[in-house]
């Protein structure tokens, strides 16, 4: 027997033991296990080497090759789905139908049909369905949201989000690069986070034009032109092929604000009529000092803290002590936009290719 577990600990199953589980979830779950908030009781992956790798941190967890085997034994309180994208919906629905709450890694699913099936299953079972858009918990993204919601710089006029790097995620399978399993390329993999923030900050989309460089496979680059219902217009460029500036700049009536990709504690902003701007570090609010004056305290939560916070939020929501930060219904909006992009896709202009190549590229792109 291991250490006694508090009755409040939620029994957690980690479904899919690839790179995201190893790099992100394992340490967060380990921390919450040490605090007796959760207990990892099951690890599921078709590759036993992967469950063994993750299992080093969770010696009491049972190992399973598939979800059916796990559910036949016991349904966890919380199932965390970290499998290849195309399996998210079916795995989540199986767990929900057995009464498990679900935290699904992004993207929630590869189609809105699957999103709706998941939402319906959660409602029928009376279980929670959360989605891992943990960047909404970054102090920087929350600060941007607040500044925009309060219109401190006036209404949004335009925006430009450029995000990209040469692909370096230590994928354990080829699933990210097969449309049937991933649902697409850079747009649905990395871009689903960006789209989630964009919709959260700027509201719903009125018009979208989408181009990418998929030529029979999945895209490594894409360019999206958007017109929001608010009237703001902008561009989103994503790449897993090349490094881009990794800045999201939003131009408002009186000034501008910049969020730097995965910079958790800093934003930049300024007024249009000022030559200078603010490089703003985000820190916690401290109690007034001895003179009774406001001061800032320590650094605001970091990347790992935010990742762990999303798990805490789901557990708190299970206990009825909080509402979900990102529910399935919230996340569905991003999938709907991505689906619309893919449905209306055109081949990216690539003027660095010759005419003959572009002709063949168009043939390959449109099947």
């Amino acid at each position: 027997m291991g250490n006694p577990v508090s009755p409040k600990s939620e029994r957690v199953a980690l479904i899919g033991c690839g790179a995201a589980s190893e790099i992100l979830y394992a340490s967060a779950l380990d921390m919450l296990s040490a605090e007796r908030v959760i207990e990892v009781t099951a690890l599921v992956d078709p590759n036993p080497e992967r469950t063994l790798a993750i299992g080093k941190k969770f010696p009491l967890a049972r190992h399973h090759l598939n979800v059916d085997s796990m559910l036949a034994e016991t349904a966890p309180d919380l199932a965390i789905i970290v499998s290849p994208h195309g399996f998210h919906a079916d795995l989540a629905i199986k767990c929900l139908e057995k009464g498990s709450h679900v935290l699904c890694e992004k993207p929630m699913a590869t189609t809105t049909v699957d999103c709706d099936r998941m939402i319906d299953a959660a409602e029928k079972a009376g279980c929670l369905l959360a989605v891992g858009h943990f960047r909404r918990l970054f102090p920087s993204s929350r600060m941007v949201k607040r500044i925009l919601d309060e219109e401190l710089l006036g209404p949004v006029r335009s925006f430009r989000f450029l995000e990209g790097e040469i692909y370096s995620w230590p994928a354990q399978t080829a699933s990210f690069f097969k449309r049937a399993e991933a649902g697409g390329g850079v747009l649905i993999e990395a871009g689903v986070h960006t789209i989630d923030l964009l919709l959260w900050w700027l509201g719903d989309v009125a018009q979208v034009l989408y181009r990418d460089d998929s030529m029979g496979g999945v895209e490594a680059n894409c360019l999206i032109r958007l017109k929001m219902i608010s009237g703001a217009e902008g561009v989103l460029q994503l790449s897993r092929d090349w490094s881009l500036p990794n800045r999201y700049v939003i131009e408002c009536q009186k000034g501008w604000i910049a969020y730097m990709y995965d910079v958790v504690n800093r934003i930049e902003w300024g007024f249009h009529d000022s030559e200078c701007g603010l490089d703003a570090e985000i820190r916690t609010r401290a109690a007034n000092n001895l003179a009774g004056m406001r001061e800032l305290g320590s650094a605001a939560p970091g990347f790992t803290d935010c990742f762990t916070a999303q798990l805490r939020n789901v557990v708190d929501a299970i206990h009825g002590a909080a509402s979900l930060q990102v529910s399935g219904k919230d996340a569905r909006k991003g999938i709907a936009l991505i689906e619309k992009c893919y449905r209306n896709r055109a081949l990216l202009d690539m003027p660095w290719l010759g005419e003959l190549e572009m002709r063949r590229a168009r043939e390959l792109a449109h099947g």
Binding site: R160, L162, I166, Y167, S168, W169, P170, A171, Q172, T173, A174, F176, F177, K178, G185, D213, S214, M215, G216, G217, V218, E219, A220, N221, L223, R225, V235, Q237, S239, R240, D241, W242, L244, P245, M350, P351, W352, L353, G354, L356, E357, R360, A361, L364
Partner: protein, 372 residues
């Protein structure tokens, strides 16, 4: 695609290899099987619906399994000396066992040194003694191939491209753009040195010719654009693409290069001293006055008084000079491609100016300035 040969591209995720894959697919010339070291290497290649495989190029058994059914293999692995030599031997052995007919090996023109003497050609003896590790490794890999190909199990064709530029080139395109934009670029002797460029598409064409040409087994070929291109030409093309005035680039007299590279090495040494925890601990034990003296020694540009005039414009200050780049920029010889033209049937299709135009189009996209 049924009638096209099946070819494997080993080390397929890199700049040249990924363009080769794209070039072959978009011309419908071959049934391409890219082979990468790990799954993440598939990201760029996955734009196409290809039979992409994973194998370590240093592991002959793993490689053999992935090479079955391929008539031709392009070896484009990049890395340090061990990687180059191990992958060369392993790939040759695997190709032989898998029944591959021809192996096209991507070597480099640096096997002739950075300053090849007049008359250098494809048949010249390779320059073994060179100051740069990469160059020596490439020479060793060619020597290794000459030794192992003697058994005749697989035909080996070696290509020696020079300064390969174009979309997705880091060293000779994106890095130059970054240096220009951050005021770190420099040109030796006004950029008058010979650049010996090869636009990446021309190299892809040479690689394809090396795969299909008859009577070229176990031969070596220099590959360039076949034009007289200077370093100023290359930097000017990139500068125009990213909106930088070439007049602002530091021009360094070659007489100052030795001194400047010494300064660069000292700065690198200081970086190591300050970046290493153990070295920092030792530093704590040394009186701060002494540490400051060492720091000044490392950072001061110890150029002779007269040489301040060797860097122009003077307001530009002393750039940090990379010894390899400075050395390359002092080349005075146009490498010949006569043999490649005559024996391989190589005929560069993209002129330098057209290559520069295409590169500029990509740079504007990749640097995020192409949307409007």
């Amino acid at each position: 695609m049924a009638d096209t040969p099946r070819v494997a591209v080993v080390g397929a995720s890199g700049f040249i290899a990924s363009r080769l894959v794209e070039w072959l697919v978009l011309r419908n010339l071959a049934n391409v099987r890219p082979i990468v070291r790990s799954f993440k290497g598939m990201a760029r290649l996955a734009r196409f619906d290809l039979d992409c495989r994973v194998a370590d190029a240093r592991d002959p058994a793993a490689l053999e399994r992935q090479l079955k059914g391929c008539a031709v293999l392009f070896l484009c692995v990049v890395g340090g000396r061990d990687t180059l030599l191990q992958s060369a031997e392993a790939t040759y052995r695997a190709a032989a066992r898998a029944g591959v007919r021809r192996l096209v090996y991507l070597s480099s023109a640096v096997v002739h040194g950075h300053h090849p003497p007049q008359g250098t050609d494809d048949y010249s003896e390779l320059v073994v003694r060179q100051p740069f590790e990469y160059n020596v490794s490439k020479v060793m890999a060619e020597h290794l191939f000459r030794r192992i190909r003697a058994d005749g199990a697989v035909e080996v064709v070696t290509l020696r491209p020079s300064i390969v530029f174009g979309p997705r080139s880091n060293w000779w395109t994106a890095q130059i753009a970054t240096d220009l934009l951050s005021n770190k670029a420099y040109l030796i002797d006004g950029g008058a040195g010979i650049c010996n460029t090869v636009y990446v598409d021309n190299l892809a064409q040479a690689m394809w010719q090396a795969a299909i040409a008859e009577g070229v087994a176990n031969q070596d070929f220099i590959v360039t654009d076949g034009e007289l291109v200077t370093w100023l030409d290359l930097y000017s093309a990139v500068a125009e693409a990213v909106g930088v005035d070439t007049a602002t680039v530091a021009m360094i007299n070659s007489d100052a290069v030795t001194q400047l590279t010494r300064v660069a090495r000292r700065k690198e040494l200081w970086g190591k001293v300050t970046g290493n925890r153990f070295a920092r601990a030792i530093r704590e034990l040394i009186p701060s006055r002494v540490v400051e003296t060492i720091r000044q020694q490392c950072h001061s540009a110890r150029l002779p008084a007269y040489s301040s005039a060797l860097v122009e414009p003077a307001s530009r200050g002393l750039p940090s000079v990379d010894p390899e780049i400075a050395s390359l920029q002092q080349c005075q010889y146009v490498l010949p491609i006569t043999k490649a033209r005559e024996v391989l049937g190589y005929a560069p299709q993209v002129t330098f100016s057209e290559g520069a135009r295409r590169t500029a189009e990509w740079l504007r996209f990749a640097f995020g300035v192409a949307q409007d």
